[in-house]
């Protein structure tokens, strides 16, 4: 069951790679939150209930509701155009994403460690690198935020892989998640929208040395 969920998770990445609309990204993020909710539920069922409840709450409330809502609010508030405006055509990014996944599978295959459920590893790393890729290849600043969210999800998955042994780390991950997201989104909603009207990355490249 978990595997099915995780595979769906990967598929969401592919979808994100070819999506054009920012709104789609947000929906995908929400969907990922929901997926994670179930994964957590199945994976961490035997850790102490309070902690489990906390984690579940975080996934469902924060990841799949609060952040998406907030992002869409930002879209409206700064009336950002709906297009994602990638540097590369979707086809290429799809290929690259596939490449990322394949490479990760190979790496996971290369690693000899029976303690680890490989699929967690694959999903986590693919998500991480896909998120970085997303940040690197989209033109809008807000897509950076979304990319970061994707990375967070990836890290979350990775933390789940060892969640049974060290729930502490899962909590830390959540803390990071909330902390960083709040910080970034906070800055974003407060300032960037106001100061830079047309929120394009090139607006934010004045601090440089040439």
């Amino acid at each position: 069951m978990i595997h099915v969920l995780l595979i769906i998770f990967i598929i969401t990445l592919f979808y994100m790679a070819i999506a054009n609309r920012l709104m789609t990204y947000i929906n995908v993020l929400a969907l990922q939150g929901v997926l994670l909710f179930f994964v957590v539920f199945i994976q961490l069922i035997e850790i102490n209930p309070v902690n489990l409840a906390f984690i579940l709450l975080e996934t469902i409330v924060f990841k799949s509701v609060a952040v998406p809502v907030f992002l869409s609010y930002l879209l409206k508030r700064n009336n950002i155009t709906r297009e994602a405006e990638p540097f590369l055509p979707n086809f290429v990014s799809l290929v690259i994403t596939t490449g990322i996944v394949v490479v990760n599978i190979l790496i996971a295959n290369a690693i000899k460690d029976d303690h680890l459920d490989k699929i967690f590893f694959v999903v986590a790393l693919s998500t991480l690198f896909f998120g970085l890729y997303l940040i690197a290849t989209r033109r809008k600043i807000i897509t950076h935020v979304m990319g970061y969210m994707v990375i967070e999800n990836g890290v979350f998955v990775l933390s789940l892989a060892i969640g049974n042994e060290m729930p502490l780390l899962v909590n830390l991950g959540i803390m990071l998640d909330i902390f960083a997201s709040v910080l970034i989104l906070g800055i974003f909603m407060n300032k960037i929208g106001d100061v830079f009207k047309d929120v394009d990355v090139d607006q934010l490249s004045n601090l440089k040395d040439y």
């Binding site: 790496i107 690197a136 990355v201 601090l207």
Partner: protein, 674 residues
């Protein structure tokens, strides 16, 4: 011991006090402290030169380890030179800087650096701990930099200063590598480790080690091709600093070289030939470029290069002597080198001081613009003349004595040996002779154009002789020049100890068991006779002329009725035939417009001398480096995506490299299999 602590304390006292004094006070304080320090070190130096050597070990700190202080005769000799030049330089600077009394900050910085430099130069002479040596070496570089950039509003000055600073830093790099090598092998900072280690090395390797140090010291001393900082630093610096720079600071390079010759046990024959070759080239190149300079201080700077070459020839002869076990050559070579070090310090600083006088009363260093100064500033003229004659190595002054000793060394070398050594000897002789002849062209030009004839350019009305206090250092130096020229044996006796460090036999000169200096006695007599003769003939001349009519008229223009000052020979025209002959070796950029038509327009002609070594060795490297570095500025381009990309790239590379490496290995295996 206490003396040494006192010595170390004094400059810091100066540093603390100077900023709070008024300009005059600063000068007096500096002079006072300088005198104290000079007398302390001079006292020690005299002690070691009269035979006993001072060894003591300061505790040092955790990083430095124990600091051995060994004052031997070599240190003593250089300490005396340093003190002499610093005292006169300080005196001259004191009066020279009066013209700048409004710039109090610069002056206090200047004086502080001055004190510090003196202390650290002395320290370099005595300290034998490689780490501490490095520290003082760099302090000297820094302080001389601060001293050079006294006229610091001028970007050119700053540029010259930084040029010097960087080249000095290169010398540190080479020193550091050499020292690190020894430390790495022996684990000791003490200089004696160098001796023990190099003794254990095969000759070829120890030559590499020596070359490391040689380059470091050559950068400081300004051997070709490491001389390029001199012609910029000297004109930029105030005159007393230029004088001290070429009098002392570049000599510290010579000191290092001779110290290393004492410390490193290596194949002295090869080293000797190396040094000799470079020195001859240095001497010739220096003077050849000196002739075509139009800026007096640049000219003098190139002459420092030349004289370093002459000193180097002496050192080369000496170490060849060590290599071939020829005591006479050792004695003559090193004695000549050491004496010429003193002599050059004397007349070169004298020349720079007089140049300073000229600068302060005419506000220019362009030889072409000067002329007829001898009537406006006769004393300066006479001092300059004496310096010029001395630097050309012409009797009856000191330059002749040291060059004569070096010549004698060469001819002793020439008296036998293999074909190769004989050829080397004869060509070094030719080199030395040519250097002398060229130097004469150069200084007849310098003196003749600057001080003689009539003004080639309207001089400021204020142009007059400087105050006596400013001439005094010049007179003191002249006194010493005379002293060395007329009583050479006195100084040769002082050289007994230092030279015997190299020969190994103590008291080489007592009874002169090698007939190295027997010629000096008659030379002295001859010099006396010469002077007496000149005086005598001059008196006779007076006697004959006393009844005759002596009238003055215009210079005989060969029938031309309206001669103007413009028709005089200029510096460029004086050396024109020379520069045409030597054109391949020189690099003179000319801009000229030719006369045309029956009623020609106003035309102009200008020529700038540039240094071929710099053009070929320095500039391309800098250019390449600049372009190469400029290729990477895209890195920090302000785009967030790139910044993150760097992270990804780094991680992926580090992850993938081992994999690739393994694959490549296996691939190679396959190839091998095939």
């Amino acid at each position: 011991m206490n003396l040494i602590y006192l010595f170390a304390l004094i400059p810091f006292a100066g540093l603390l006090l100077i900023p709070f004094l008024r300009v005059k006070g600063q000068g007096l304080l500096t002079l006072g402290l300088l005198t104290i320090n000079a007398s302390i070190s001079g006292f020690l130096a005299i002690q070691v030169l009269t035979g006993e050597s001072i060894n003591l070990i300061l505790p040092g700190s955790y990083v430095t380890g124990p600091i051995p202080i060994r004052i031997d005769a070599l240190s003593g000799w250089f300490m005396l030179i340093i003190n002499l030049i610093f005292l006169t330089g300080g005196l001259y600077g004191f009066s020279y800087l009066k013209a700048y009394r409004l710039r109090r900050n610069s002056i206090s910085l200047h004086f502080a650096a001055f004190l510090l430099q003196h202390a650290s130069l002395i320290a370099i002479c005595v300290i034998q701990n490689s780490f501490v040596f490095l520290i003082f070496w760099e302090i000297v570089a820094l302080t001389s930099f601060l001293l050079i950039i006294f006229e610091n509003e001028n970007p050119v000055t700053i540029k010259a200063g930084i040029n010097y600073l960087i080249q000095a830093h290169f010398s540190i790099i080479f020193l550091m590598i050499g020292f690190l090598w020894v430390i790495n092998k022996t684990g000791s900072y003490d200089f004696q480790a160098i001796t023990s280690y190099s003794a254990s090395l095969p000759g070829s390797v120890s030559i590499v080690l020596f070359t490391c140090f040689f380059i470091a010291f050559a950068l400081k001393a300004g051997f070709v091709p490491f001389h390029t900082w001199l012609p910029y630093a000297h004109p930029a610096a105030p005159s007393h600093i230029s004088g001290m720079m070429s009098g002392v600071v570049i000599k510290i390079g010579i000191f290092g070289m001779m110290r290393m010759l004492l410390l490193i046990k290596t194949d002295f024959l090869t080293v000797g030939y190396l040094i000799l070759t470079i020195s001859v080239l240095t001497g010739l190149y220096g003077v050849m470029l000196a002739i075509i300079q139009h800026n007096l201080k640049r000219l003098l700077a190139y002459h420092s290069v030349e004289n370093i070459g002459i000193i180097g020839i002496g050192i080369g002869i000496g170490s060849i002597g060590i290599g071939s076990g020829n005591v006479t050559m050792i004695t003559l070579g090193f004695a000549g080198a050491l004496l010429h070090t003193l002599n050059h310090a004397l007349f070169k600083s004298l020349l720079f001081y007089t140049a300073g006088n000229v600068y302060q009363s005419t506000h220019t260093m362009e030889i072409e613009k000067l002329g007829g100064l001898i009537r406006k500033m006769p004393q300066t003229a006479i001092l300059f003349l004496i310096g010029a004659i001395a630097i050309c190595g012409i009797p009856p002054f000191n330059g002749f004595i040291s060059e004569f000793i070096i010549y004698t060394g060469l001819y002793k070398w020439l008296s036998g040996g293999t074909m190769f050594s004989l050829l080397a000897a004869i060509f070094s002789t030719v080199g030395l002779v040519a250097i002398g002849g060229l130097a004469m062209i150069c200084f007849t030009k310098a003196f003749g154009i600057i001080f003689l004839g009539t003004e080639r350019h309207s001089l400021p009305v204020s142009c007059k002789e400087v105050r006596f206090i400013q001439l005094l250092p010049g007179y003191i130096l002249t006194g010493f020049i005379m002293l060395v020229g007329l009583f050479p044996l006195m100084f040769i006796r002082l050289l007994d100890q230092p030279v015997s460090l190299y020969t190994g036999t103590s008291h080489v000169f007592d009874g002169l068991q090698n007939h190295a200096f027997e010629a000096l006695q008659p030379i002295t007599i001859a010099t006396w006779i010469l002077i007496a003769l000149i005086l005598f003939i001059f008196l006779v001349r007076k006697y004959f002329l006393r009844h005759q009519v002596v009238e003055t008229g215009p210079t005989w223009g060969c029938g031309y009725v309206a001669p103007t000052f413009k028709q005089q020979y200029t510096a460029s025209s004086f050396v024109r035939s020379y520069s045409k002959l030597f054109a391949p070796a020189l690099l003179v950029k000319k801009e000229e417009e030719l006369l045309e038509g029956i009623f020609p327009e106003k035309v102009k002609y200008s020529s700038h001398a540039y240094d071929k070594v710099e053009r070929w060795l320095i500039d391309p490297v800098l250019k390449f480096n600049k372009n190469f570095m400029a290729r990477f500025v895209f890195l920090n381009n302000g785009k967030l995506q790139f910044y993150i990309l760097y992270g990804i790239i780094f991680v992926l590379t580090v992850l993938s490299i081992p994999v690739l490496y393994r694959n490549i290995l296996s691939f190679i295996e396959i190839l091998k299999f095939l």
